[in-house]
């Protein structure tokens, strides 16, 4: 398959970014360096090209009923102009994708999905749609997307892009006269905004942000930032065979909402019975980093889980990881070990929100 390029590809290469394939796109991993970019987002502001993300419109008389049928969270309690995070699950509770649902009105929604899953998701959404009077439109090519993230984001939006977001609450969005969509959302654990617009407008905004000296940030620090904030990445903490309950995302699963949703019964059962494995945070007593796929052992050396993401954390200052472990080992304070190549290192279960987010609520 040919590697796709976002509308900002030439900007990344001219900035000297190190580029790497991600989800079918040639994406920037870092520019000035992962640590500096991570710190920019934690302390002031950085901008990410996230144009690879997918957008799907759901419109029609049954739009609300349909979105709620495929979405674990409850779109009926959203105000127009509000968004919600949640998952699409299969009948067995496995996660098709995690996504943001934007409600323009009860008859008009935008779903923002992971780039790695766009084809699978759109097929899934269409498969689920018989019996609902809805129009499903793939809008992936119509939108570029920027994420402006960090404590100075509101100021940057106003001063550089001329967009006043002071009245925009956390997980609300607005549509500007030129149809640009701005939401107070993100994937970093900081205050920030996600901006959806036609590719030409996205390029123009990017250029203005660069001219103003806002730090360009790559997927490298996008991963370290979301990891520290305990946010899952599809492919690491979620996949077709992982349920939101196992991943500790039960607060985004509304088992009791009217009409239910696909996967509801399996997830309700799992919640009552308790999942066999759980996603936990681990603090690792080693200078080496436990990375995706490394084994987690009990104190006798038996394998009881595996690492999903691990870093020598910039904001926390030590080696930490998220891991799936068998339920009996998931309690806070549990003593475990992690196999890092030929050696084992002591590890302790801690909260997986390693860094306390600074959201403006």
């Amino acid at each position: 398959m040919e590697t796709k390029k976002t509308c900002l590809h030439s900007r990344h290469t001219s900035l000297g970014a190190s580029m790497s394939p991600f989800a079918g796109y040639d994406m920037p991993i870092e520019y000035a360096g992962l640590d500096a970019e991570h710190t920019a987002v934690r302390t002031c502001c950085g901008v990410f090209d996230v144009s690879h993300m997918g957008e799907v419109d759901i419109k029609g008389p049954d739009a609300l009923r349909f979105v709620n049928h495929i979405f674990t969270n409850d779109a009926s309690t959203l105000a127009d102009g509000q968004c919600a995070y949640g998952m699409m699950t299969r009948a067995d509770g496995g996660t098709v994708d995690d996504l943001l649902v934007y409600r323009r009105s009860a008859g008009d929604f935008i779903l923002v999905i992971n780039a790695s899953n766009t084809a699978k998701d759109i097929e899934w959404i269409r498969q689920c749609s018989p019996g609902f009077d809805v129009e499903i439109s793939d809008r992936c090519a119509d939108f570029g997307q920027l994420a402006v993230q960090g404590p100075d984001s509101e100021k940057t939006m106003r001063e550089v892009l001329g967009i006043d977001c002071s009245g925009l609450g956390f997980y609300y969005f607005t549509t500007l006269p030129d149809l640009t969509i701005v939401s107070r959302t993100g994937y970093t654990g900081e205050d920030g905004f996600e901006v959806y617009a036609a590719p030409g407008k996205i390029v123009d905004m990017w250029d203005r942000l660069m001219a103003a000296g806002v730090a360009p940030c790559g997927l490298g620090c996008r991963d370290t930032l979301r990891f520290e904030a305990g946010l899952p990445l599809y492919g690491d903490e979620l996949d077709d065979d992982i349920t939101p309950i196992e991943a500790g995302l039960g607060m985004f699963v509304k088992l009791d909402k009217e009409g239910g949703f696909i996967g509801r019964d399996a997830l309700a059962r799992q919640k009552v019975e308790g999942p066999k494995r759980k996603l936990v945070g681990l603090e690792i007593d080693s200078p080496a980093t436990a990375r995706h796929g490394f084994e987690v052992l009990d104190m006798n050396g038996a394998v009881v889980g595996h690492i999903t993401t691990g870093y020598n954390s910039i904001s926390v200052g030590k080696n930490i990881a998220m891991a799936f472990v068998d339920a009996p080992y998931a309690a806070l304070g549990s003593e475990l070990q992690v196999k890092i190549r030929r050696k084992t290192a002591p590890a302790k279960v801690i909260k997986k929100r390693f860094y306390t987010p600074n959201y403006k609520k």
Binding site: L34, D35, G220, T224, A288, T289, Y311, N312, I340, K343
Partner: protein, 122 residues
């Protein structure tokens, strides 16, 4: 000291029967800031082309491959305190010191000129 390279960017500087193994300038730049170097113990045997440790940056861990076979007769303890030495001066920062058991293995490695040509193709 003569220097040889592997395509995976490890170098060996040879002083008689002793080889000093590290990573090239190119590798150090590609890795970014090094956070940890996972090294074997003194007395371990390493084998030509086989993994002997790993070098970690924030982003990833990269396996280290030995250019030659032999016994590890020293590990660079300075790297435990300051792994960024590898970024600052990769060619002066050896990772392990090896007693080379079969000097003929050096013949299959790239010398400086061959390595420079190889880098130009990347």
């Amino acid at each position: 000291m003569k220097i040889y390279y592997l395509p995976s960017h490890e170098y060996i500087k040879v002083d008689g029967s002793v080889g000093f193994i590290g990573v090239s300038e190119y590798a150090a730049k590609q890795l970014g800031a090094v956070t940890y170097v996972d090294m074997p113990d003194e007395g371990d045997d390493v084998e030509a082309g086989e993994e002997f440790g790993a070098i970690e940056s924030r982003k990833a861990a990269s396996d280290l491959y030995s250019p030659v076979s032999g016994e590890v007769i020293g590990v660079n303890e300075d790297l435990a305190d300051d792994p960024k030495l590898i970024n600052n001066a990769p060619l002066d920062t050896w990772i392990i010191k090896v007693d080379i058991s079969d000097p003929s293995e050096l013949d299959s490695l790239m010398d400086q000129e061959a390595y420079d040509k190889y880098l130009a193709t990347l």
